[in-house]
């Protein structure tokens, strides 16, 4: 990233607090989701993002409302960072019509076109080619927006990763590829997934500039993402950013976590991005005890509102089963 623009965006205190708020909202939202899963209010696969919040929030703050965002089945964080309504997400996980995907999708398939949030893809790496296509459309239409695509380090082993990176580079489309390297693909550790474990080095094979960042550090992620977005807009080229991070929770609610040591998890929890950033703001006098309390209360209220919306939501009538298969149904 030689030509990368070094200029930094300086955030106001309010903006900083908003980022903390977003990380906390994601954390609480997911804790609540896990609870609701245990109560069997939520079913199917539920993949928690807990531990990785700095990535979604740090990257998303660099985007504009017009930018397109695509993600995986582990996308609550991205959806919330994108300012989608927590209620519409919770309702979606309940399978209610008030959900952002009308309840058809569940946890793995959150969509909200009004926020330019394009899912919610549960085929690993299946959304990477789509992201290239969306960015290509922007280029053809001479729009100024970029496309941001989140995926895991496991996904980078799929052929789609290779094809998408090459196409993006060939066509010089405004795409930001964010690899969330949380060291595991389900139970398969990085070393069993990639012969070359510095994922950012894969950029070389495509002539795509790339870098890696500490994904547990919101400030670092934000800066890297801001730089990346600038780079894309200045150079009219894609960029590849690897965020090294960790999930504190099992892969999904079905996972017995036989493949990793409890100690390893505990070590990583010490790097929890939320207390780290919070402390940082306190140190910088950008955040008072009172503001924290208010924030936490506000989040609690948001979560409760979300659960209420989901609880009170309605089931789609069975007669509508075959709706949404073709347009205009």
């Amino acid at each position: 990233m030689e030509k990368r623009i070094k200029e930094r965006k300086v955030l106001t205190g309010e903006q900083e607090r908003h980022l903390l708020y977003q990380m906390k909202l994601i954390r609480r939202f997911e804790e609540k989701s896990a609870e609701q899963y245990t109560k069997e209010k939520i079913r199917g696969f539920l993949h928690l993002y807990i531990g990785e919040e700095a990535v979604a929030v740090g990257v998303t703050q660099a985007l504009s409302a017009e930018d397109y965002v695509l993600s995986t089945y582990r996308e609550h964080g991205h959806a919330l960072a994108r300012n989608m309504d927590p209620g519409s997400i919770m309702a979606e996980m309940y399978g209610k019509q008030e959900g952002c995907s009308k309840g058809r999708g569940g946890s793995m398939h959150l969509f909200d076109a009004t926020f330019n949030f394009y899912g919610g893809n549960a085929i690993v790496a299946g959304h990477l080619p789509m992201a290239v296509g969306m960015a290509l459309a922007s280029k053809k239409q001479q729009k100024k927006n970029i496309t941001c695509c989140f995926f895991g380090e496991g996904a980078a082993a799929e052929g789609e990763f290779h094809e998408a990176m090459n196409l993006a580079a060939l066509w010089q489309v405004p795409a930001l590829f964010i690899c969330e390297n949380n060291l595991y693909a389900m139970g398969t550790a990085l070393k069993y997934t990639h012969a070359m474990q510095y994922i950012e080095k894969k950029g070389v094979g495509y002539g795509i500039d790339s870098s890696a960042v500490d994904g547990m550090d919101l400030i670092a992620v934000s800066k890297a993402a801001n730089d990346a977005v600038k780079y894309i807009k200045t150079n009219n080229k894609p960029y590849f950013l690897v965020c090294n991070t960790y999930r504190f929770r099992p892969h999904s609610m079905f996972d017995a976590e036989l493949y990793r040591d409890k100690k390893e998890v505990e070590e990583w929890k010490k790097k929890d991005p939320i207390p780290r950033y919070q402390q940082d703001l306190i140190n910088k006098k950008r955040l008072s005890k009172k503001q924290i309390d208010e924030m936490d209360k506000h989040i609690e209220a948001e979560i409760n509102k979300a659960v209420t919306l989901a609880e009170e939501g309605t089931w789609e009538p069975v007669e509508d089963l075959t709706k949404f298969v073709y347009s205009g149904q």
């Binding site: 397109y68 959900g99 952002c100 995907s101 009308k102 309840g103 058809r104 999708g105 398939h109 969509f111 909200d112 076109a113 394009y118 899912g119 919610g120 893809n121 085929i123 299946g126 959304h127 990477l128 080619p129 789509m130 992201a131 290239v132 296509g133 969306m134 960015a135 290509l136 459309a137 922007s138 053809k140 239409q141 496309t147 052929g159 789609e160 290779h162 094809e163 998408a164 090459n166 196409l167 060939l170 075959t322 709706k323 949404f324 298969v325 073709y326 347009s327 205009g328 149904q329």
Partner: protein
């Protein structure tokens, strides 16, 4: 309408050209569609006419560029993606089924995918086992897709234009075997109806249902049979999904017998589904068992005589129908 002699290739090209002229959002992308002129010369000259933004050569990466087509469609374009031949479509099958066909549903109706995928298809050029596939039936079973089979020159000229009007993904099968065939087409023929099967020949004695490469073969057989006094009603399915049951049932209600002809492998072919529809709604109209002439259950062999034996030929159709009629 003034008619003009035109190859199937030319008819396809005129369709693409008109689509590109009609709508700025339309662009064609695929392997070798540009500089090479199209693997089968269908898009020859279009790069020169429309430029590299509208006629995009892509690398060998079927999943990648079909997926990119899905994305571009989501974001307001109208991509025509050419998968050079159906033989390579398996590499893009995940994008087609799990994304193109499914996004509308998964998103609760928010995201439609106005994508057209064209594929060369079928047997007949001695291209052997990996290059002679007839996989229309796989795609025809997928909810969310519209699947068209271009069995005539008229449809070669018009189906793409109709497909581009669809808000939902359309798969368009073109038949490489027919490329050089000449037929009369109205040069200004536009979009065709893509909701209906079409009776290509009226007849009273038996219904012959077919599509794709089967259409002209069946018409040829029907002519021969007509000279022997048997009048075959030939129906071109055209729309493999959703199937137009009405046209089929109406014909069977008239003839009380039906034969289905296709190149696809017998097990799980379109014939099986056509049988089922007729059985479900027209069983009591039938005077005799439905029959099918399909592709043999074998990867297509290279030598001409074995290749020909792998799929029904006009003479097979004639022989089968004579037997069915009791001659």
């Amino acid at each position: 309408m003034k008619m003009e002699k035109m190859t199937y290739r030319e008819a396809l090209k005129q369709g693409i050209r008109e689509a590109l002229l009609n709508d700025e959002r339309v662009f064609l992308m695929g392997e070798d569609v540009g500089h090479y002129g199209g693997a089968f010369a269908v898009s020859k000259g279009l790069l020169q006419e429309f430029g590299a933004d509208r006629i995009m050569d892509v690398p060998l990466s079927e999943s990648g560029f079909v997926g990119a087509g899905v994305g571009a469609a989501l974001a307001g374009m109208k991509p025509i993606v050419e998968v050079m031949t159906v033989n390579f479509s398996l590499l893009a099958m995940d994008q087609i089924i799990n994304n193109a066909a499914t996004l509308l549903h998964m998103s609760g109706g928010q995201l439609n995918v106005p994508l057209v995928i064209r594929m060369g298809c079928g047997i007949g050029r001695q291209l052997a086992a990996q290059h002679s596939h007839s996989w229309e039936p796989y795609f025809a079973s997928v909810p969310g897709l519209i699947v068209l089979s271009v069995g005539t020159h008229e449809d070669a000229r018009g189906m793409l234009l109709s497909a581009l009007k669809s808000p939902d993904p359309v798969i368009l099968f073109e038949y490489t075997f027919m490329l050089n065939m000449d037929k009369e087409v109205a040069p200004d023929a536009g979009a065709v109806d893509i909701t209906k099967a079409k009776v290509r020949r009226d007849g009273k004695d038996i219904t012959l249902i077919t599509y794709g490469n089967g259409v002209y073969k069946s018409l040829e057989a029907a002519e021969e049979l007509s000279s022997q006094g048997i009048e075959v009603e030939v129906i071109d399915l055209r729309v493999l999904r959703p199937l137009d049951e009405e046209t089929l049932l109406a014909s069977v209600a008239k003839t009380h017998r039906a034969l289905v002809v296709e190149d696809a492998w017998r097990s799980g072919g379109m014939a099986a589904e056509v049988f089922s529809r007729i059985i479900e709604k027209g069983f009591f109209e039938l005077d005799a068992p439905l029959q099918r002439l399909c592709g043999q259950e074998v990867p297509i062999p290279y030598p001409r005589h074995l290749e020909e034996a792998s799929v029904p030929q006009p003479q097979d159709i004639v022989d089968t129908i004579r037997k069915m009629i009791g001659l």
